[in-house]
């Protein structure tokens, strides 16, 4: 276990040490103490390691993550796991705005609530929020999934492309060109897999969710290209 105390170690030194990790590193377990809401903790990691942040993190924590499993034992500020490519980011508290923005791959799990614009411009990652999400979530989301066990704020999925949205609770309103769609067996399977990946498969029933997605009236969708998404 590599323990880094940000009360004594510069954040930049920590991030440089994480960036220097190779795919075969033996330093596979990291614990970051005293994050004290600092911005850009564990940004740009590209190694199969586990990093636990022991407290609240500031902006862009775990941004651009690849491969790493990053656990935040507190709240995360704006843009947690933004542009994640792969790996797994777990926020044990709440996430602020734009959680998982533009993320291409990997999974982001938020135990609490995520505020506005969760999964904005999502590009393929899976986001699962056990609480509720704020307004304009999944705005222009292109691919990937957003699963919400609680409620969703206003204008969910505004101008959405082909991302799949699963919400168990109440929707304040749907955004432009976002519509409710039937929950087919394919989607039940997809949703179950996401619940399973987030560790809540036994706790909630896929039948309690409703599916939302694009009405395909706002962009030039050609069914021949459906396989590209």
């Amino acid at each position: 276990m590599s323990e880094v105390d940000l009360a004594v170690t510069e954040l930049r030194a920590l991030n440089q040490a994480l960036h220097a990790l190779t795919p075969t590193t033996n330093e596979t377990n990291w614990r970051i103490l005293n994050p004290r809401g600092r911005h850009s903790i564990a940004v740009g990691v590209d190694a199969p390691v586990t990093i636990e942040i022991a407290g609240h993190a500031g902006y862009y924590c775990a941004g651009m993550n690849q491969q790493a499993r990053i656990i935040i034992a507190g709240n995360a500020g704006v843009g947690v796991a933004e542009n994640m490519m792969s790996g797994f980011v777990h926020v044990r508290g709440d996430a602020s705005q734009a959680a998982g923005a533009t993320a291409h791959g990997g999974m982001l799990v938020v135990d609490g609530n995520a505020s506005a614009r969760c999964g904005i411009s999502l590009k393929g990652a899976d986001i699962l929020v056990k609480g509720s999400v704020g307004h304009m979530s999944a705005f222009m989301a292109q691919a990937g999934t957003l699963t919400v066990l609680g409620d969703a704020g206003e204008s969910l999925g505004d101008s959405i492309y082909e991302a799949h949205l699963y919400v168990r609770g109440r929707i304040a309103s749907l955004g432009a060109d976002c519509i409710e769609k039937p929950l087919h067996d394919f989607h039940r399977g997809e949703l179950f897999a996401k619940l399973e990946a987030a560790g809540v498969a036994g706790e909630v029933d896929v039948a309690e969710f409703r599916r939302y997605g694009t009405g395909r009236t706002l962009y030039n969708f050609h069914v021949d290209n459906a396989g590209q998404y």
């Binding site: 004290r36 609240h56 709240n75 508290g93 602020s96 505020s115 704020g134």
Partner: protein, 287 residues
């Protein structure tokens, strides 16, 4: 960008160190607003007395007012404590080089250009005590770096407001308030927001009701932190354009633009920490 902070003591426990906490919070938010800083502290008051916070040019000799009442000097500011009935006369005879930054039975306001940590030090904020306080660190975007452009804005006795954001309909609201007989000193949008709340409070609304009314009357993006003699409140615009984090324990409730501003508060480890919801008024009142 700008940073705003606030702290409100729910019990007297934290009052002795309130200034010290506010000073730390302001300093941490210095990188969100390095141009100027200001703060208001609600300290002691005496029945029948009005505290006027005066600002003068550097090196101004405030001692000429010592005969009028209690006088406390802090940097370029001085707090003059007068009998309530003497306030109007003092205002009428105010020397032109002086500005009354704020007035109230308990509120004192200090603002100056410079790095927030330096501003807090210049006024010795760390030594101040009180039941609540709010502060602002400014990154000037739409008007010059001047002391007049620094928050908090106070437009009524014991009332003040700090604002992160900018209002889009402040000219229209200002015109309406001028028609009601109010006076605006600056062209600043935040002054209009403060004056709007003063207007609503004067109509008999509670602080919470006044802020709720502002949701339909003020347009733009904003996070407001507001202080009154006994109250403390927070409101974010319905789109939540500007960041906000709150924390609460049995002893206190605190606001910061970012969580970083709150990390040194006593008991923060076990405090409830949350992001205030857009368009929802959060208000606390001391009996």
């Amino acid at each position: 960008m700008c940073g705003i902070v606030g702290i409100f003591a729910k019990t007297p426990g934290i009052e002795a160190s309130l200034g010290a906490h506010l000073a730390t919070m302001l300093a941490v938010m210095g990188d969100r607003g390095p141009d100027s800083a200001g703060f208001a502290v609600y300290g002691d008051g005496a029945a029948g007395q009005m505290k006027l916070t005066l600002r003068g040019p550097s090196g101004y000799d405030f001692s000429r007012f010592a005969a009028l009442g209690g006088l406390t000097l802090r940097g370029t500011h001085a707090v003059l404590s007068l009998p309530v009935e003497a306030e109007a006369g003092f205002r009428a005879a105010l020397p032109p080089e002086l500005t009354i930054v704020g007035a109230g039975s308990r509120m004192e306001i200090y603002k100056e250009v410079g790095l927030p940590a330096d501003v807090a030090r210049e006024f010795d904020l760390a030594s101040m005590t009180g039941s609540h306080g709010i502060g602002h660190t400014r990154m000037a975007t739409e008007s010059a770096v001047t002391t007049d452009g620094a928050h908090p804005y106070s437009t009524g006795a014991d009332q003040c407001l700090v604002h992160n954001g900018s209002l889009s309909n402040h000219n229209a609201v200002r015109r309406e308030l001028l028609r009601e007989g109010y006076r605006c000193i600056t062209e600043n949008d935040t002054e209009v927001a403060a004056l709007y709340l003063t207007h609503r409070l004067r109509q008999g609304l509670s602080l919470e009701q006044a802020l709720t009314a502002s949701l339909s009357d003020l347009d733009g993006f904003y996070t407001f932190v507001v202080g009154t003699q006994t109250g403390f409140a927070v409101l974010r615009d319905p789109i939540a354009c500007k960041p906000a984090v709150m924390a609460e324990t049995e002893e206190w409730v605190a606001f910061g633009s970012e969580y970083r501003a709150l990390v040194d508060l006593p008991g923060i480890e076990t405090a409830r920490v949350w992001e205030p919801e857009p368009g929802v008024v959060y208000a606390w009142e001391r009996p």
